[in-house]
């Protein structure tokens, strides 16, 4: 039966429990990758072998599917004696992939600040630290917020792939409920609404930051 109130009353708490796992994964991934991506971007902008390694890493993770990366971490690592739980594997794979994407966002942000800004800062007698803190970083931050918001949305959606390695996120919960009941439409609507709410919240937070940190340019 479509929109069976009894069914929906039982479905909603289950989906919300799954959504908690989804949010946890997404927030952890985003937070870790903000730092990890920055480290990779710094390494990539240096000279020598470190830059090569960082560049190779970025290309490798950007050009292979997340699902395969998850399988390598989840099934592969346990074969070589480095087993992780489903949650741990999912989180690690999400961080490995999104670290590469975020490094590229940082790089784009740094490159978008023109050389004249550095020169102007130096002409005002700023030291390196002051130059970065007062002139460069604020501009970079303002410019990377829109792509970072997009990345956050894509992370939220990507977390659904942990369902493939048996983590009980909202996607997996939905799958279990569909298979054990006949109310496919209800479950689909529920899970779609949850993802739409989560991605909309991410968009709104991004807009808020954008408005606060915007420059008149």
């Amino acid at each position: 039966m479509l929109f069976d109130p009894n069914f929906i009353a039982r479905l909603i708490p289950a989906l919300i429990e799954g959504a908690e796992v989804t949010v946890e994964l997404a927030v952890l991934t985003f937070g870790i990758c903000l730092v990890w991506g920055f480290i990779v971007a710094l390494a990539n902008s240096s000279h020598g072998p470190l830059a090569w390694i960082a560049g190779g890493y970025i290309q490798a993770v950007r050009n292979t599917p997340l699902l395969i990366q998850m399988y390598i971490v989840y099934f592969g690592f346990s074969m070589i004696g480095f087993g992780l739980s489903g949650f741990g594997s999912g989180l690690l794979a999400l961080c490995i992939q999104n670290g590469g994407y975020m490094a590229e966002i940082y790089r784009g942000g740094l490159q978008s600040v023109s050389q004249r800004q550095y020169e102007a800062g130096r002409a005002l007698g700023m030291r390196r630290l002051a130059l970065y803190r007062i002139v460069i970083i604020p501009q970079v931050v303002a410019r990377i917020i829109p792509p970072m918001t997009n990345q956050a949305i894509s992370i939220i959606k990507d977390t659904s792939q942990v369902a493939a390695i048996a983590v009980m996120d909202v996607m997996k919960v939905a799958q279990v409920w569909v298979e054990s009941s006949a109310n496919t439409y209800d479950v689909f609507l529920g899970v779609a609404i949850i993802y739409l709410v989560l991605t909309s919240v991410a968009t709104l937070i991004g807009r808020l930051f954008e408005r606060r940190l915007a420059f008149a340019s």
């Binding site: 599917p65 699902l67 399988y71 592969g76 074969m79 369902a163 939905a174 496919t184 689909f188 899970v191």
Partner: protein, 217 residues
């Protein structure tokens, strides 16, 4: 090298899977591009009703993971009574999903043309149709080609998700070999290398196109 024997034995099977991946991606890219262009046109030139339909479509697609759409198509299609082979089912979902992202790319291409191009075309006495066909489209498509190519690479990666709903392609092929050989690390790494070869080639082509866009021809 004994550890890599399973990969050496299974490489032909993996390559056949990769062929299927490419076929699936190719079959989805064509309708996705056509629909993407139509959506972009509707959003730029359409009336208010058309625009709000497109905006709603983009909101929904951008907010829901592809895996959710694929999974529920798998469950819902039999219920709706539409008799579609699974291959075409996932091709339709991939096309509908990527059309949303393609439309953004084409829309950006159209909107990023300088105002002067429109004014010049109008001052030559061109009709709206001529203006679009002779002046706007050729330039907009050229501007849109690099991000279009990187979207195609994304689509190739996204086809890995259809293995979750039981379709056979590269990821499914590698899972089958893993089940027989119990060598997940080697096999999934091999699959990752094949994906990398496909997607990195596309990325390099995109970069080449970008260079051409930046430097005139």
């Amino acid at each position: 090298m004994k550890e890599f024997a399973p990969l050496l034995n299974g490489w032909w099977y993996l390559l056949r899977g990769a062929g299927m991946t490419l076929l699936m991606a190719g079959a989805a890219i064509v309708p996705a591009t056509i629909l993407g262009v139509l959506l972009a046109l509707a959003q730029v030139f359409g009336n208010r009703a058309a625009r709000s339909v497109v905006v709603f479509y983009l909101f929904v697609i951008r907010g829901i993971p592809l895996l959710v759409l694929l999974t529920f198509t798998y469950y819902l299609l039999p219920l709706t009574g539409i008799d579609l082979p699974p291959f075409w089912g996932v091709v339709v979902v991939l096309a509908l999903y990527y059309a949303a992202f393609m439309s953004e790319v084409f829309r950006a291409g159209i909107l990023s043309l300088p105002r002067g191009q429109w004014d010049a075309a109008r001052s030559l006495g061109m009709t709206r149709r001529q203006m679009l066909r002779i002046v706007i489209f050729p330039q907009a498509l050229r501007l849109a080609s690099p991000p279009f190519v990187s979207l195609c690479a994304n689509l190739v990666k996204a086809t890995s998700l259809v293995s979750v709903v039981g379709l056979w392609e590269l990821t499914m092929a590698s899972r089958e070999i893993v089940e027989r050989t119990l060598a997940p690390f080697q096999i999934f790494l091999g699959a990752a290398v094949i994906y990398f070869c496909i997607c990195y080639t596309l990325a390099l082509y995109g970069r080449y196109l970008e260079g051409r866009v930046l430097h005139g021809h």
